[in-house]
Point group: C2
Chain length 328, copies 2
C-alpha cells in the first residue's frame, strides 16, 4: 500500500515534489490544493486531482502526508500549524531566525491533533543542517563553514526585478574559491561576508532604462548586495532565456576539526551538492521525509520534528535488512 | 552527570577513543580492560584505571557504555554479543558480509539484557554508510560510488609484512583520479576494481633479501593486490619512520542521481573525509554514538542498532533547542 500524498501550492517546489513522487514506488500523489481556480491549474500527474484549498478538510482521512509548498515569509508560518491540525505535514521553512517559533507553533498543533509535522526540510536547512550537526558532534573541537553556489538565488533575483527599469533578472551566488581552498587545507579563518561569496547578476533592462542607475541600485542594496562584491551584466531577453532559464544550485558544508591527546591531528569533513535543479532536489528530500513523517505517525508519534529528530532508516523505502545488507 | 565509558582493548583505536572522551565534556573514561597484564599497560588518562578483562563483570553497574575495540576477524564476533549481556556496547565491526549475522547475535544478547548494542560504527562502515543510505533515499534513481584514500590500509600493510624478507611495510590505497573525475562530472560508469583504486607500497627489506621476489609476491597476492595496479618502493627503516609513521586516511562517497518528469536533471552528492588519523577519527565517531547508545537505553530501548536506526540528535551533547537554533 502506497503512501498517499497531497501537495499544497503548485510552484516550482511543488512540481519538484510531484516528479519525486513518481520516482518512489511507495508514494502516490492524490491531490494538489491551490488558492487559484482549480480549473486553471494543469498538473503533470494524470492520476491526481486538483482542488481549491478551501476543500482540503474533506481530504483529512484520505491523505497520509500533506507537503506544504508555500513561501517562508508569509505562507508557512500560517499554513504549517493550521494544516498540522488535520494532516501529517512537512514543509521547507527556511527563515533560520524564526525556526524556534515555527517549531513551537507546529508542535502545539500537531500534538493536539496526534499528527507529525516535519519542518525545515530541503538542503539548507535540511541536508546541510544534518551534516553540520553530525560533524559538530563527531568533531566537537572545530569550526564549520557553509558555502552556497554556484547557483541561482531566487530571493536575490526577485530583489533585482523590483528595481524600476528592470524587466527580468537572474542572480548567481558564487563561493570565493580562495576562501574555500583555505578551509579545505585545514585553516580555520574568520571570514567577512565579502570573503565567502560573490554575487553575479544578469539583468534584462527595459528599453531606454538608465543602466548605470540600475547597476548602482543593485550594488548598494542593503543586505542583498551591499556587503558583497557584485558584478552586473546587462543582457538581452533572448540570452537570459537561452543561458539562464535553469535553477541550478549547490554548495558545501565543511567541518574542520582536531583530535588527539595534544590535538595534533586535523580532520576535514566536506559535504558537497551540485544540483541541476534546486526545486527538484528539494522536492526529492521532502518526499523522503514525507515517508518518515507518515511512518513515525503510524508508530504513534506526534508533534513537530526536524531532520535532527528522525532516524535515517525512516527515509528509505528499503527494509532494514536490505539497508544493512547493501548500504552499511 | 557525565556518561561513564569503559574501553575494552588498548590498541590504536582504543587510544583514539580515549582522546575523544577528553574532548567531550559530558563523557568520562572510567576504566580500560585488557587481556594483557594490567600492570604492563600504561594509559594516558590519569583519572581512569586499568583492569584485566576477567574482572569486567564487576563493573556492570558502574559503566554506562563499553566501547569494544577488538578486531573484526575474531574478537568482535565473540566480544560484542558477550558484553552486550552486561553493558550498553558499541563496536566498529567492519566485515561487511558478516554484518547481518553479527546484528542478529548482538540483538539477541542485548534484548535479553535490556541493553543497547550499536554495531559497525566509524567512517566505513559508519559515516560513509549514513551518506550512502540517505543519498539513496533522497535520489532513488541513481548510483553510488565509494572511493577510499589516499590513506594507509592496515590490513594491506600487515599482509606485506607477512612476506619473508620484509621487515616493515606501509600500504597506501589511492583513488584513481580520472575515475573520480568521471563520477564528479555526472557520468555513471561501471568500474572494474583496477579502475577505482591503485595501491602504493613502501617496504623495508631485510638485509640481503631478494627484492624482485618480494615485489613479485606483493603484486600477485590474491584479493589484496593482484586485481590492482600496484607500485612497490623499497626504502630504509629511517625513511619509513620519518615519512610513513602516521595513519592518515579518508575518501569519498558520491551519489549521482537524476530527477524531473523526464529525468532530465542531474544531481551529485559528495561526502569527503580527509583524516590525519584514521583511529582517532573513528574513535571520535564511536564516542558520539556511545552517547547515543546510553541515551537510547535511558529511554528504555534495547537491542542492536546501527547508524541507520539512530536519530542524529542523540549524537550531540547540545540540547535540542540549541541544535535547532545554531545548526539547523
Amino acid at each position: 500500500m502506497s503512501i498517499k500524498i497531497g501537495i499544497l501550492g503548485y510552484g516550482n517546489l511543488a512540481k519538484g515534489v510531484e516528479s519525486a513522487i513518481q520516482q518512489n514506488e511507495d508514494t502516490e500523489l492524490l491531490a494538489v490544493f491551490t488558492r487559484r481556480n482549480p480549473k486553471d491549474l494543469k498538473i503533470r500527474d494524470p492520476k491526481a486531482s486538483v482542488h481549491h484549498v478551501d476543500e482540503i478538510e474533506a481530504w483529512k482521512d484520505k491523505i497520509d502526508v500533506l507537503v506544504i509548498c508555500g513561501g517562508s515569509a508569509t505562507d508557512l508560518p500560517v499554513q504549517t500549524p493550521k494544516y498540522a491540525s488535520m494532516f501529517n505535514v512537512i514543509d521547507s521553512f527556511d527563515t533560520h531566525a524564526n525556526i524556534p517559533q515555527h517549531f513551537t507553533n507546529v508542535d502545539a498543533a500537531a500534538r493536539e491533533a496526534g499528527k507529525v509535522g516535519v519542518i525545515s526540510v530541503g538542503w539548507d536547512p535540511g541536508m546541510f543542517s544534518l551534516l553540520r550537526m553530525i560533524s559538530d558532534a563527531v568533531l566537537p573541537e572545530g569550526k564549520h563553514y557553509t558555502f552556497w553556489g554556484r547557483g541561482v538565488s531566487q530571493g536575490h533575483s526577485d530583489a533585482i526585478r523590483r528595481i524600476p527599469g528592470v524587466k527580468d533578472a537572474r542572480q548567481y551566488t558564487i563561493p570565493v574559491e580562495s576562501s574555500v581552498e583555505k578551509v579545505r587545507a585545514g585553516e580555520t579563518p574568520d571570514f567577512t561576508i565579502r570573503q565567502q561569496h560573490t554575487r553575479e547578476c544578469f539583468v534584462v533592462a527595459e528599453e531606454g532604462a538608465d543602466l548605470a542607475a540600475i547597476e548602482e541600485q543593485i550594488k548598494t542594496m542593503p543586505n542583498y548586495f551591499a556587503d558583497y562584491d557584485t558584478t552586473v551584466h546587462f543582457i538581452s531577453e533572448e540570452e537570459l532565456a537561452a543561458n539562464h532559464s535553469g535553477l541550478p544550485h549547490g554548495g558545501f558544508v565543511i567541518r574542520s576539526g582536531v583530535t588527539g591527546w595534544e590535538k595534533q591531528n586535523k580532520h576535514i569533513i566536506e559535504y558537497k551538492l551540485k544540483l541541476d535543479s534546486n526545486p527538484e532536489f528539494t522536492g526529492s528530500v521532502l518526499v523522503a521525509y514525507a515517508r518518515a513523517a507518515y511512518r513515525l505517525n503510524q508508530e504513534g508519534q506526534s508533534g513537530c520534528k526536524t531532520i535532527f529528530d528522525i532516524a535515517p532508516r525512516y527515509l528509505s523505502a528499503k527494509s532494514d535488512e536490505d539497508l544493512r545488507h547493501t548500504l552499511l
